[in-house]
Symmetry: none
DNA sequence: TTGTTCTTGTAATAAAAATTTCCATGCTGG
DNA sequence: CCAGCATGGAAATTTTTATTACAAGAACAA
């Protein structure tokens, strides 16, 4: 009746991982299929699931049996239970208790400030510069390198991670200064360097940008209203507001602009980006499969 | 055969809302039951669903018929399709129709979307959870470790870089999976792990969080509206909106929340943070001097 | 009240699905 | 090269599940 206690995993996914070693080749196929489109695949009928995984019905049943379920219905029930507890967690957990300090609502105030910040910043972005920068970033023939300072390194990384999905030949300059010369070496005439640099402008970053620019590399600069000295050598400059009244600094506007650029590039090169992402997806799946063994 | 076109809603939930007026009293019961535990209730058998809603089987079928499905199987298929398309990353979602120089303002539209995103997300953050999380992050006695997935790694890094200024004993889990065990080793009971995990939830990250939680570590989760499975072991869950209409995903809301948390911690421990930052400044100056020579 | 219509559940029936049986196939070791 | 064994699918069988037919009961109008 009930599933035996010997099966360790709380979730079906966990059970699969624990059992993967004991599965035969064609039992492993639906197992991985399920993990890939979890948990939908398992909520279909046996026949549908079997077709999706490219095996026969009985194989599905042998799999669920090995996972410790005494029937396919029991297996599905487990999946539904999981799904339900997962999807309902946030709803039941949000009784919106207003436990802010005294009267003021910290989150509300912060939101208001950051939103204003983003709006004023974005309003001031010169449209032509934006389009030009997007054009540079979308051009596959150009190598693209991103670099950031102490804090802005995370923004450089964010841009890097997303651009990398859309096009080849993108690199991120790490935070280890020692590796920087190699990056400079690779940057050629007409390549693109994206620099994030805000007040307390970092000298090493400025130097890096200057050297790159000297070699004929296009420099796109994201900076704050104090404008980094990199501007002197940059081809496109985007200055946004980072200061919040009476608080810490915020990268909100800078991230918004960066994301807008990514979206712009994405829209521009939709065709090639799509096929690239699909290939990427394919490769990932294969890697995952192999790893599963 | 196919569902008729007269039925407006793209999603089953929408269809229900549009049809609610035309339903009888006892048809309305399962309809609302479904909306309450969506979509799990509808994935059960007719009998189970009927029992859950307190009606008979045929009433369920009359309901699905009125919703425009020609069979219960078709109804379930629609629910599964929805679920799958939402749980699965939009591997290749077409971007907004190329909004070149034609009338539309790309930046303006994007700004509007992201601002709306941030506002709705932040409004839903439970204040008490927020305060509790800030309390944990501000507590020097606890070690704090941040971790992110493929894309969200940059957010984990952002939080790490800022927290590090405010307090000691903060670490970032790198993107090299090989180094992860060491981090787990260091995490003790009552320490704090901050996890960033969005749709296409990453299995290795989930496993990491689970192991940490098993050891008694507090887990703070930043996720999207589809809620990472990490939620099951998390002490505090923050679900924000990451989807932008017809575009790439946006981390804007997640970053805003993360920054709000940082600001909160900063405000809370103003005294100690200030002296820490001053000492840090001192050290930096010395290092810079030495290096400058 | 009484007839009519609209709801809704019970029970019978049909359809579909899960499960089992059994045999073909391919692999391993002697 | 063959015996023995593990594997996996086709087809038969059984069970479950959806679906339909029908009748009881409620709501309403005249």
């Amino acid at each position: 009746m009930k599933e035996e206690a010997e099966f360790t995993g709380r979730s079906v996914a966990e059970r699969i991982r624990n059992t993967l070693g004991r599965l035969t080749a064609s039992e492993r196929r639906p197992a991985l299929t399920l993990l890939e489109s979890y948990p939908v695949a398992g909520l279909e009928t046996v026949a549908q699931f079997a077709r999706r995984a490219g095996v026969s019905g009985p194989t599905i049943l042998r799999l669920t049996a090995k996972l410790g379920f005494d029937s396919y219905a029991g297996f599905q029930q487990a999946l539904r239970d999981e799904l339900e507890s997962r999807l309902q967690a946030p709803l039941s957990k949000a009784p919106v208790a207003s436990t802010r300090a005294e009267g003021r609502d910290f989150i509300g105030d912060y939101t208001e400030a950051i939103v204003g910040n983003i709006q004023t910043s974005m309003a001031q972005i010169p449209r032509a510069e934006f389009e030009a920068a997007a054009g540079l970033l979308g051009d596959e023939k150009r190598r693209v390198v991103t670099i950031g300072g102490r804090f802005t390194h995370s923004l450089a990384q964010h841009l890097y991670l997303h651009l990398r999905e859309l096009r080849p030949r993108v690199a991120l300059v790490g935070d280890q200064t020692a590796t920087w010369p190699e990056h400079l070496l690779d940057l050629a005439r007409n390549d693109v360097l994206v620099v994030f640099d805000i007040r307390r402008f970092q000298d090493d970053v400025v130097q890096f940008a200057k050297q790159a620019a000297a070699g004929g590399t296009h420099v796109i600069l994201f900076t704050d209203t104090w404008v980094s000295p990199v501007a002197a050598v940059a081809t496109h400059v985007f200055a946004v507001e980072t200061a919040l009244p009476s608080s810490w600094e915020s990268f909100g506007a800078m991230m918004a602009l960066s994301e807008a650029l990514i979206a712009r590039v994405h829209a521009e090169r939709w065709g090639s980006a799509k096929s690239r992402m699909e290939r990427l997806e394919q490769i990932r799946r294969n890697l995952f499969r192999a790893e599963g063994q």
